[in-house]
Every structure is written in structure tokens, then in C-alpha cells.
């Protein structure tokens, strides 16, 4: 944790040119995502391709593999631009993580079996956002059941029932919906509200 704070301060703020570039790249990505603009993508390409090529050349020491890295990374950028989240980091960092994944796959390719594990499985950065996976399940993982048990008492009954079925009995949201005879959407919103409330309670008491 101490390391984290050092890093943040050491990293400081981006200089103005970097910031402008990041903003421009983010706009271009948004254009690609929303309108499939080839012009916007071409602009991104002319900015990032040489950088990726230099990275690939340093990593592989081979021009052709470096070109493959550029090609495959930018193909992902073209198809997955809508998955870039400006609040999570800069466009270049996002593109770097895609290139990191492509590099991992290219390095394994020669010893590759047909169903070898891929970087998309190991770093699911290009997964479509999935309700279930992003719906605050981190809370379940971070907080011990017994430690939050007494906060449950403070939840409204309908929310508590849903959360207990999901987190203690291990039922899926669909099963809870079936067994209580309430719509799936209601189960989801009750779960979300309950988790939000629990989070608040826990932070208060921390």
C-alpha cells in the first residue's frame, strides 16, 4: 500500500502535450465507436502504429512479427473501441494493454497447441461488460461473510432476502427470481441497492 502512494505522487500530472494528445485520442476512439468512422480510425492508426511497431521490434527483434503486432492490436482497437472507458485510464494505456495481450499470444504461438490458452482469457480486458460479473461481486470477495453478517440486519427485508439467497445460498439471480416469483429486473435492482447500502454501512464503520 505504501508503494501505491509513492507511485501516485511520482507519476505526477501529464504534461500539456500528453494531455491534449490523450483527449484527442479519446475523442477519436469515441467517434470510431459511435459512427465507425474510418477517418477517425486512420488518424488513430497513424499515431499509434509507429509506436506499436517500435514496441514490437524491441520485443521480438523481428520486423515481420512487429508488423503482426501492429496489425492485430489495431484490429482490436477498430472492433472494440466501444470498450474503452475514459474514466479508467488514457487511450494509450488501453491500447498498450491490448498490445501486451497480443505480444503474449505471439510469443506462445510457436509452441502452440490448437486450444492453447489466450491472453483474452487471462486478461479479459476486451470482454463485453457483463451485468453479473460487474454487479458489485467484488464486495462478496473482499468482505468476509461473518464480518458483515450483522449489517444484514439493517437491510430492508425484501433486499435482505434476495442477498441472502444469492450470497449465502449461492443461487443465481434467475433462480431467486423464479423462487420468489418476482421479475429478474427486480432481483437485480434489489441486489444492487442492498450491496450499495452494505458498502455504505461498512465504510461508515471502518
Amino acid at each position: 500500500m505504501q508503494v501505491t502512494s509513492e507511485r501516485t505522487s511520482q507519476r505526477g500530472v501529464m504534461n500539456t502535450t500528453q494531455q491534449d494528445t490523450a483527449e484527442k485520442a479519446a475523442e477519436l476512439l469515441a467517434k470510431v465507436a459511435e459512427t465507425r468512422s474510418r477517418a477517425a480510425f486512420s488518424e488513430l492508426f497513424s499515431h499509434f502504429a509507429p509506436k506499436l511497431q517500435a514496441y514490437g521490434t524491441r520485443q521480438f527483434g523481428n520486423e515481420q512479427t512487429a508488423m503482426d503486432l501492429v496489425q492485430e492490436t489495431m484490429t482490436n482497437v477498430w472492433h472494440k473501441a466501444h470498450l474503452f472507458k475514459p474514466d479508467r485510464g488514457s487511450p494509450s494505456t488501453w491500447i498498450f494493454t491490448i498490445a501486451r495481450n497480443i505480444r503474449f499470444d505471439l510469443l506462445r504461438k510457436n509452441k502452440k497447441r490448437k486450444d492453447d490458452i489466450s491472453a483474452d482469457e487471462l486478461w479479459p480486458i476486451l470482454a463485453e461488460q457483463n451485468d453479473n460479473l460487474d454487479d458489485g461481486y467484488a464486495l462478496d470477495n473482499d468482505v468476509l461473510m461473518q464480518e458483515i453478517a450483522h449489517y444484514y440486519a439493517q437491510l430492508p427485508d425484501p433486499q435482505r432476502v434476495v442477498v441472502e439467497k444469492i450470497y449465502i445460498e449461492g443461487k443465481s439471480q434467475q433462480e431467486v427470481s423464479d423462487s420468489l416469483g418476482i421479475p429478474l429486473g427486480t432481483v437485480k435492482s434489489r441486489t444492487r441497492l442492498a450491496l450499495k447500502k452494505l458498502k455504505e454501512l461498512i465504510v461508515e464503520h471502518d
Binding site: 484527442k24 509507429p50 514496441y55 490458452i117 467484488a138 470477495n141
Partner: protein, 231 residues
């Protein structure tokens, strides 16, 4: 809450893509569960990006004249290929795993590897194992310990990384809860056990276990059972 994390060196290798597939899976699953390490990984990725990509002269505001790495022909060819390509289908995550009537929700990275998890087999007593095929040398498993299970004291010929996915276990040194990441070298012996609660862990070993105490040494000829991907 989580008190046992991968070292910053390991997170750095994770973010650079320099760990083995098995280790990437274990560290990535820890990162899914740990907001502190998520933050650190974000910062490392930012640093790596500065080092690897941003070092090349800025080209977006000063269009690429003067940079000769990619010819216009190369660029046009690549663009054309990209525009005519099909999007790869995304890996479908599956976050549930069941054993003996227990159901667990798998963290994101593990959920994306659900299809690689094999069937559960009972090892000894209340100890269960499901192999995960990550294609590496070495051995990666989900290990499930029912309440009141003890794995005989052992050491490893290589490194063992263990992540608590759900539950609690302890060894001589400490108690480990959800999200705790434990890396053991060859020279450490330990006796993992559960008491009142059960425990699901993700573990990867790069060499066999070696049992060190008393009668459990008789298990050594069979220790490959504890990690072999599939018989």
C-alpha cells in the same frame, strides 16, 4: 481486508505479460478480488505504456512526416485489412462452479477460464481437486477443502502460488481469507488446514509436493496425484 498480496515485482511482470499463463491466472484472479492491487496494476500499466509506447515521438498533433517506420503503402494495406476484418467472438465467461452441493461464484478472470476447469476428483479424505488446463508445464488446480480438512505437512520442489477464492484456511504461520495470495518457495514446509469453514483455493505448482512428516511420507510416491493435470 486482503492482507497477503503479490509483491510489486510480480504485479509488474503480470502487467508486462511476462509471467507464465498459470501464474497470470492466479495473480489476475487476485487482482479481480483486490482493489488495492487493481490500483497498483493500473499505475504499472500507465508506467509501462510511457516506457514502451510514449517514448516514440508524438505523432498525433504533428502528423507522421519525418517518421519513416511505416510506409504509406504499408499503412494503406493494413488499414484495408482491418476494415474488412471480422470481430473475433469474445470469450464467454461462466462464473458458477459447483461441488458437493456447494456453489461458488468465480471471480472475473477465472470465470473466463471456466471451460478449462476439469471435473472434480476426490483426493484423500475431504480434499478435492479440479485441474485447470492452462497448457503450461507445471500444474494448476482448484483445490477444495471441506471443513476440518488437513493436508499433510509438505514442501515443494518448486514454487507454489495459492489464492483463496472463497473460504478460510490456515497453516502454521497464518490464517488466510478470501483474496489472500500466498507464494511459497521450495524450502518452506507447511500444513494447510481448514477448521469450521470450508475453503476453495486456486493453486499452481511448478514441481511436485514432497511430504515431510511421519507417516505422510508414504504419500510421496503418489504426490503427483496432488497436482497432475489429468491422469
Amino acid at each position: 481486508m486482503i492482507k497477503s498480496h503479490p509483491s510489486e515485482a510480480i504485479l509488474y511482470q503480470y502487467a508486462s505479460g511476462d509471467l507464465s499463463a498459470a501464474m497470470t491466472l492466479v495473480v489476475g484472479t487476485h487482482v479481480d478480488m483486490c482493489s488495492v492491487c487493481q490500483q497498483t496494476v493500473c499505475e504499472i500499466e500507465h508506467d509501462l505504456c510511457s516506457k514502451h509506447l510514449d517514448t516514440v515521438v508524438q505523432t498525433l498533433n504533428t502528423p507522421s512526416h519525418g517518421y519513416s517506420g511505416l510506409s504509406k503503402t504499408d499503412t494503406d494495406k493494413m488499414l484495408e485489412k482491418i476494415f474488412s476484418s471480422e470481430a473475433k467472438p469474445a470469450v464467454q465467461p461462466d462464473e458458477l462452479i459447483c461441488l458437493e452441493g456447494r456453489r461458488f461464484v468465480l471471480p472475473r478472470t477465472l470465470a473466463h477460464n471456466r471451460a478449462r476447469i476439469g471435473d472434480w476428483t476426490n483426493l484423500v479424505g475431504k480434499l478435492w481437486r479440479a485441474p485447470i488446463d492452462v497448457g503450461d508445464r507445471g500444474h494448476t488446480n482448484l483445490i477444495y477443502m471441506e471443513p476440518g480438512t488437513q493436508v499433510p505437512e509438505h514442501t515443494h520442489k518448486g514454487q507454489e502460488a495459492t489464492l483463496v477464492v472463497d473460504g478460510v484456511f490456515n497453516d502454521e504461520k497464518d490464517v488466510y481469507y478470501n483474496g489472500d495470495f500466498i507464494l511459497l518457495d521450495a524450502d518452506r514446509t507447511h500444513t494447510p488446514q481448514t477448521s469450521a469453514q470450508d475453503c476453495l483455493t486456486l493453486a499452481t505448482l511448478d514441481a511436485p509436493l514432497y511430504f515431510t512428516s511421519g507417516i505422510s511420507r508414504l504419500l510421496n510416491p503418489f504426490s503427483s496425484l496432488f497436482f497432475r493435470a489429468s491422469a
